[in-house]
């Protein structure tokens, strides 16, 4: 089929490209059947039903396939050191604000190829949840072949954790009360904003309390979420709740503070009660995006999370959004990613069926209009 042809001339960005597809899931404005996407300079030039394709332009004929925007993994830990054991927490000190997770990232690790094969084109590379103040996450495009701009955001907000996981028996703090005490202390110091020379921790926390950068706060259970909200209220933070699984219990309060939620993989829980939570939260007006938390789960199951959630009561539209545009908005890259619309990056996933069908497999993945993955039949 036509793929073989186009492979020969793939790679160079300058060329423009047209994709003909049976269904185009634009996410932001509905599904276009038998549509065409014109890509130029790695951006989507135009998308629609009857757009005439300019002369001499390369055409990918996918007229029996579906196209959706590249999926965004709102929280994962791939490419860190060894391929299976990942180093995501600097647990010597409880406050590791100035740790750049990007420094630990290996762009050539197998995980990255794996990610692409799963249709994940953008990730938030985050530190773990074992430090009260965890460090600086980064937003990356997995288009490492071109060194141009695969780092979208070098240091996006600051990671906090108010979970029991952040407590260690041989390190301060050891109790949740102590943890909150510590975080307050740090934020207060940052707020005081007195200049006493070089103090990276303070400078970074200033970004959150003064410069209003996003705080990503790990909190799973109700009490943890409550503590997170307490902090958010006291310091008027712009915050995102990470893995707020039990958020549905207090959905109204999360909604009224409109805190977005990065939801953990559904496959980590098996009881119906838990599988329904994501749906409940979304239905009560909370913006959620899914995360794979790799290596906790397989990157392939980022999509599985959305599908399971849909099966257990999340409406399909939101399910798709929470894989793409919602994530993009939460990570603050919605101007470039998250939907198929004019002017956005041509990060596309081509499947042989409905994206919300587990059975439909990923045929091809494009980033900035370049084919970065293509499925081989064995």
């Amino acid at each position: 089929m036509s793929i073989s042809f186009c492979l020969t001339s793939s790679g160079s960005e300058s060329q423009s490209l047209a994709i003909r597809a049976s269904k185009i899931w634009t996410i932001t404005d509905g599904v276009i059947t038998n549509g065409v996407i014109i890509i130029n300079e790695g951006k989507i030039q135009s998308v629609g039903e009857n757009i005439e394709i300019p002369e001499g332009i390369r055409v990918l004929d996918m007229s029996d396939k579906d196209v959706m925007p590249g999926m965004i993994d709102a929280h994962c830990h791939i490419g860190l050191s060894l391929d299976i054991f990942s180093e995501m927490d600097e647990t010597v000190a409880a406050v590791a604000a100035d740790m750049l997770i990007l420094d630990a990232f290996n762009p050539y690790s197998d995980d990255v190829k794996k990610a692409l094969s799963c249709g994940v084109t953008t990730i938030m590379l985050a530190p773990g949840n074992r430090n009260p103040v965890g460090g600086l996450p980064a937003v990356l495009k997995l288009d490492i072949s071109k060194a141009n701009d695969w780092v979208l955001v070098r240091a996006a907000g600051v990671e906090f954790s108010v979970m029991n996981e952040a407590l260690m028996f041989d390190r301060e703090p050891t109790s949740r009360a102590g943890l909150m005490d510590l975080i307050r202390e740090e934020l207060d110091k940052a707020k005081e904003d007195k200049d006493d020379g070089f103090n990276p921790t303070r400078d970074i926390l200033k970004r959150v309390v003064v410069a209003n950068k996003t705080a990503y706060i790990w909190a799973r259970n109700v009490d943890e979420i409550a503590s997170a909200m307490a902090i958010v209220d006291e310091y008027e933070l712009k915050a995102v709740l990470v893995t707020a699984e039990q958020g549905d219990e207090i959905a109204d309060m999360i909604a009224e503070r409109n805190l977005p939620v990065i939801y953990p993989p559904l496959l980590l829980s098996s009881r119906d009660k838990d599988l329904k939570r994501a749906g409940k939260m979304a239905n009560s007006g909370i913006k959620i995006a899914f995360a794979s938390l790799t290596p906790r789960t397989d990157l392939h199951d980022l999509r599985t999370s959305a599908i399971l959630a849909a099966k257990y009561g999340l409406d399909t539209e939101t399910a798709l959004k929470s894989l793409t545009i919602n994530a993009a908005e939460i990570l603050g890259v919605a101007d470039r990613l998250g939907s198929i619309s004019e002017g956005k990056d041509a990060d596309l996933v081509i499947l042989n069926g409905d994206p919300l069908q587990l059975t439909s497999s990923i045929e091809m993945v494009l980033i900035n209009g370049n084919i970065v993955y293509q499925r081989q039949e064995e």
Partner: protein, 402 residues
């Protein structure tokens, strides 16, 4: 959509379980009302308007739109107050990183989903005092909560209700060397002896005083201590043995502290002094014999009539669960106190109004009076009869258990 319906139903059911009747006014008719503030009322009526007691007494005309709960012949008491309750917290209660941690606020760690809360409320407990763990010499600030609300902020009746000090051997527990630091430095480790406990206590209050004198406040910890020094925050001291109680009294004299004793297993030995100094006590469960009184066997010389003796000597006595989960219910505590010689009324007060006064929340809970919170327990019979059961618990005017 299907799931919607189910969810919705669940929610409805839950809410139906928690709050029947949205009506403003609720009326409780009862054969006998033990107000704890005045004389018992027979065939009385309690008028509840949005969570508060609007009227109480006999011959009150009942508004027709009111929801009437007719308790028939059964007995009505105020919701019980547990002045030393098991903490509804997941994970470690004790901050092991230091032994003097006054700024620690347990209210930060409260878990509204906690099972213990859901249980004690069914035993008629509507107000609890929760404090940080017992393994720090100065543990931090406790909080008075009600077992209702989805997030801690909604549960709290009075935050920073008291500063917890532990002079029992519990404070010698949890010796942990911080990472990458040698145990050489005395201040890293917990005290190993009671001498050290008391020494640390003295030192920290001494520092606090000095800081208070030298106007500028540096250390927030000391700030809280000095607040305690000038009686802005009450101090709860865990002391089981008589000699510890005496030691505590001594320190109190030196710094002019106002104390409240917790546990106080051997309190009966020093009843006189306690009475003279007007120091209230919150007793833990009575121990039958040392075999089942915790790992230290402190206060081995048990006296079952501890409560009775103290009360007779004129000490303000509250009965509590002694932070033991497994919901030792307050009624049993009172019943056994009476069995062992405490005065009936004293015993009943000791699980309602007295602890409320000790915790400084008596203006809201602890007795059935006009204007107080409508925390009401309906009993099947005489509260001190062991075969009496809790039939209904009303918390802030809402029926939470039936």
């Amino acid at each position: 959509m299907r799931i919607h319906v189910i969810l919705l139903t669940f929610l409805l059911l839950v809410s139906a379980f928690v709050a029947p009747g949205r009506a403003e006014v609720t009326v409780i008719k009862a054969g006998k009302i033990l107000t704890m503030s005045g004389e018992p009322i027979t065939d009385g009526v309690i008028l509840v308007e949005d969570g508060k007691i609007a009227e109480i007494g006999t011959g009150i005309e009942i508004p027709e739109e009111a929801v009437v709960i007719d308790a028939g012949k059964s007995v009505v008491t105020p919701g019980f107050v547990d002045a030393s309750a098991p903490a509804p917290v997941r994970g470690d209660l004790n901050e092991q990183s230091g032994e003097i941690t006054p700024t620690l606020r347990i209210s930060d760690a409260l878990d509204p989903q906690s099972k213990t809360l859901k249980r004690v409320v069914q035993m008629g407990v509507t107000t609890l005092f929760v404090s940080p763990g017992p393994q720090n010499v100065i543990g931090g600030l406790g909080v008075v909560v009600k077992p209702s609300g989805k997030i801690p902020q909604q549960m709290i009746v009075k935050d920073e209700a008291a500063l917890r000090i532990v002079m029992d051997l519990d404070a010698t527990q949890g010796n942990r060397i911080p990472r990458y630091q040698s145990p050489t430095n005395f201040y890293y480790r917990r005290p190993g002896t009671r001498m050290a406990i008391i020494w640390m206590l003295r030192k920290s209050f001494f520092d606090a005083q000095r800081q208070a004198d030298s106007e500028q406040i540096e250390d927030p910890n000391l700030a809280i201590l000095s607040a305690a020094l000038n009686d802005e925050i009450p101090i709860h001291v865990n002391a089981r043995r008589a000699i510890v109680i005496r030691a505590a009294l001594k320190v109190a004299d030196e710094y002019g502290l106002k104390l409240i004793f917790q546990e106080c297993t051997e309190g009966y030995k020093v009843a006189k002094q306690l009475a003279e100094k007007k120091i209230p006590v919150v007793l833990g469960p009575f121990y039958y014999y040392p075999g089942n009184m915790g790992q230290y066997r402190e206060g081995r010389k048990v006296n079952w009539n501890n409560a009775g003796i103290l009360a007779k000597a004129g000490v303000k006595v509250a009965l509590s669960s002694g932070e033991q989960s497994g919901a030792i219910d307050m009624l049993t505590a009172a019943a056994f106190a009476v069995r062992h010689g405490m005065d009936r009324d004293e015993a009943l007060k000791a699980i309602t109004i007295t602890p409320a006064e000790i915790l400084g929340v008596a203006e809201r809970v602890g007795s059935l009076e006009k204007g107080k919170d409508a925390d009401i327990v309906i009993l099947s019979g005489d509260p001190l009869d062991v075969t009496t059961r809790v039939e209904k618990v009303i918390l802030n005017g809402k029926t939470v258990y039936q």
